[in-house]
């Protein structure tokens, strides 16, 4: 039976699904009610058989996960003959707003896409429910199986839900460095290895930067400089923290200043691609894909476009761990995730979906097969579902090392995160465009960011 239904909309349609199902049942004369079918209140520690999972299940999915996530859901639907599944792609840029609206309208899907930075907001707003008990008692899915750094980002910090787990990471996305072997070969530069240092990266970047007629036509390295994960991890690496214990931001601490120099000095030197050039080329990944940048700081999720653009031969490109600085290495990390809505009326099916989603021969197997997902389960670290995929990438250990080295984002309220990011980007622009010193720009940025934090 193909009962799965897909839509592309800006809000869940659970009410429509309920009406449709009710009509279908009354027309069939069965008069049954899925909501009372005994599947709603699962017994802790019991796993229902596939045919015992009944009723309806609605799922929200980020639009950027199209079409993979849809295929996963359709496969799940095939495996559950008595369940009707409906899923919907939701615009990621408006996702939080739409979920908050859906929560107010009591129209949340049963399973919600989530992400680490929104976890506490979703928990406090009553969008997602606590999974701690489920993960503690379920025979098939346990909190211990997940990579600790990534799971910790779904643990609520502070407030009435303190300590509760309100989501699970979909993929363990931690930063590694991709490099274009052809550009290395043309310059006669040896490929980097996992024991390299930041100084090595800078030197290689110098060798791979090409200038013609006063313009740089090839850069050594680039990253998503606007991504908080990139710069927060480096503040941590230098021994600092973005947020002090008293809740104030420390964009101007000595450790933070080291991090800003770490990123901005090579851009000013001209060996790292500037954000302005990235923007003209269509984003931070584009210059690496089109061959105007030799190295890129990215995550496992970016393997599919890299394979598409640079090739599927191991001789085309490679991956290596982030270099160390004075023996230390903390890399940017983060994840999209999956949770169960606080208002689900089919908890049994929602939990069943999570079990299937994270199984090696279920959802995780399908997701890993696309190269776009790094299983966040330690139990799958050596699994063939991702390790035995044809290279490139060859150096799969780099992803495992990145998970070990992954940093986490501080507990800044969600509605302040955009403001903090914006202030940092403005400060970077001050340095790169106006030539303001890093010290002056970020001292001013710290005042602005803390003012904004206090306003709220």
């Amino acid at each position: 039976m193909q009962s799965v239904r897909q839509s592309r909309h800006t809000g869940p349609r659970k009410a429509t699904a309920a009406i449709t199902a009710a009509l279908a049942l009354s027309l069939a004369g069965c008069g049954g009610n899925d909501a009372e079918g005994g599947s709603n209140e699962p017994e802790a520690g019991e796993v229902p058989a596939p045919e015992e999972v009944t009723g309806e299940l609605t799922i929200s999915v980020f639009d950027w996960q199209d079409p993979v996530e849809g295929q996963v859901i359709e496969a799940y639907d095939e495996a559950r003959p008595n369940l009707e599944v409906e899923y919907e792609y939701v615009t990621a840029s408006e996702y939080v707003q739409l979920m908050l609206q859906s929560q107010m309208a009591d129209d949340l899907p049963d399973v919600v896409a989530t992400f680490d930075l929104a976890n506490d907001t979703f928990a406090d707003s009553g969008i997602t429910q606590d999974l701690t008990e489920f993960l503690g008692t379920d025979p098939e899915l346990s909190a211990d199986e997940f990579a600790p750094t990534f799971l910790a980002n779904y643990e609520v910090r502070g407030g009435e839900n303190d300590g509760e787990i309100h989501g699970l990471p979909r993929s363990a996305d931690a930063k590694v460095i991709y490099y274009n072997k052809a550009l290395f070969d043309e310059a006669g530069v040896a490929y980097p290895t996992d024991d390299w240092t930041w100084e090595d990266l800078l030197e290689i970047s110098r060798q791979l930067t090409i200038t013609e007629g006063g313009s740089t036509v090839q850069y050594g390295f680039g990253a998503n400089y606007n991504q908080p994960a990139e710069w927060v991890s480096k503040i941590n690496m230098f021994g600092g923290a973005l947020l002090a214990e008293d809740g104030t931001l420390q964009l101007d601490s000595p450790e933070a200043m080291q991090a800003w120099h770490y990123w901005l000095d090579p851009i000013q030197e001209g060996i790292f691609i500037p954000p302005s050039v990235q923007a003209t080329q269509g984003g931070n990944l584009a210059p690496f894909l089109n061959g105007t940048q030799a190295m890129y700081s990215g995550v496992r999720g970016q393997v599919p476009p890299i394979r598409n653009s640079l090739g599927t031969d191991p001789a085309d490109w490679g991956v290596v761990t982030w270099p160390t600085t004075d023996g230390e290495r903390v890399v940017g990390a983060g994840s999209a995730g999956i949770g169960i809505s606080a208002t689900t009326d089919n908890l049994a099916a929602a939990q069943d979906y999570l079990r299937w989603y994270y199984s090696e021969d279920g959802g995780m197997g399908m997701l890993a097969e696309t190269y776009a997902v790094m299983p966040p389960l330690t139990s799958l670290a050596d699994s063939a579902i991702w390790r035995d995929l044809p290279a490139p990438p060859e150096n799969n250990d780099a992803y495992l090392q990145a998970i070990e080295d992954g940093g986490s984002y501080p507990d800044i309220p969600f509605n302040n995160q955009a403001g903090v990011r914006d202030v940092v980007i403005q400060a970077m622009d001050e340095v790169l465009i106006n030539g303001t010193s890093i010290e002056d720009a970020f001292t001013q940025a710290n005042i602005e960011a803390n003012d904004a934090l206090n306003d709220d």
Partner: protein, 325 residues
């Protein structure tokens, strides 16, 4: 019913039909009972025909606008309960340097785009009003921007503005001029946005001016020509006064377009940067509402924007209203 009819009669007798001259000839335009009924029926039909649109307008514009006005007196982040703060959001606006700067930038953008749109729209309309063989093709080319979405236009212009590979700087370099870093220079980025806004709005202005120019009696232009008036004189003394009403209209429409269109353009091309040099008021409002979830303050900003638009519309239309009086 009688009251309505009599009211309708008195109204009909007080207001002459446009260009009929009935107001000066008592008796001829005198309403009869049957015309009163006809007026009632016409009013009823008008109400019936307007009702669907008015309902939708009420539900999706008037009610949300009133709710937004109400929300402007609250502090609300969508996640917690709304808290009454009185006029605090408005006072915050007065001290919000970023908001005031974005408002100033919007005003500058409106001034620097509305005048070229009106002027170029008028000039191009005169140009394409000449009946020649290829004029349909030329008109189509001029109207092209109107069928392209704002977002697609912004993406297109982003490529054109590329400092290294863009068509504009490549052309400039052929002439020995080093083009600026359009979208990455706080000096040039506002100009780059303004150019796109002008490009997008000229077709609307051309359509209105073209329609108006075609209403001007050809004999009048020909007579001026025979009297020795040159092209400049004809344009200044016959065509320009002949399209005065359209100029008012185009000014209001383009001003409103500038206010709203810039959101799409800024969002795609610059995201308000570099260094907030293109952060127009509507973009700041969006950021406040949907990135910071500061709904109460964003509602206050929206109310301020509404007041600005209303005041601006009144100022632009005031000369015409006086003239009608």
């Amino acid at each position: 019913m009688t009251d309505v009819a009599s009211s309708s009669r008195s109204h009909a007798s007080a207001v002459p039909a446009p260009n009929s001259g009935a107001g000066h000839r008592p008796g001829r335009g005198r309403p009869t009972r049957s015309s009163g009924h006809r007026g009632d029926r016409r009013g009823l039909w008008a109400a019936i025909l307007l009702a669907p649109n008015l309902s939708v307008f009420t539900v999706f514009v008037i009610v949300p606008a009133l709710l937004a006005f109400g929300l402007s007196f609250f502090e609300w982040d969508l996640t917690s309960d709304a808290k009454w703060v009185g006029l605090e959001n408005y006072l915050r606006f007065l001290g919000d340097e970023r908001a005031l700067t974005s408002l100033r930038l919007t005003a500058i953008l409106m001034a620097t785009t509305a005048i070229p749109i009106v002027f170029l729209g008028f000039v191009i309309a005169i140009g394409v009003n000449v009946p020649t063989r290829w004029m349909r093709v030329v008109r189509t080319l001029y109207f092209m921007p109107i069928v392209i979405s704002f977002v697609a236009s912004a993406v297109l212009w982003r490529f054109l503005y590329d400092p290294t590979y863009g068509l504009i700087n490549t052309t400039l370099s052929l002439m020995g001029i080093e083009g600026p870093e359009w979208l990455f220079s706080p000096t040039w980025a506002p100009a780059a946005v303004a150019i796109v806004v002008i490009w997008l709005n000229i077709p609307t202005a051309v359509i209105f001016y073209l329609a108006a120019l075609q209403q001007i009696p050809h004999e009048r232009i020909e007579a001026a020509h025979l009297d020795g008036a040159g092209a400049w004189s004809r344009a200044r003394h016959i065509l320009w006064p002949g399209v005065r009403q359209q100029t008012f209209f185009v000014s209001v429409v383009t001003t409103l377009h500038v206010l709203y269109q810039t959101f799409d353009i800024v969002s795609v091309m610059t995201q308000g940067g570099p260094l907030r040099s293109t952060e127009v008021f509507i973009y700041y409002l969006y950021e406040t509402a949907f990135r910071s979830f500061d709904i109460g303050y964003a509602s206050a900003l929206a109310t301020v924007l509404f007041i600005c638009i209303a005041a601006l519309t009144f100022l632009v239309y005031r000369p015409q209203l006086k003239e009608n009086e």
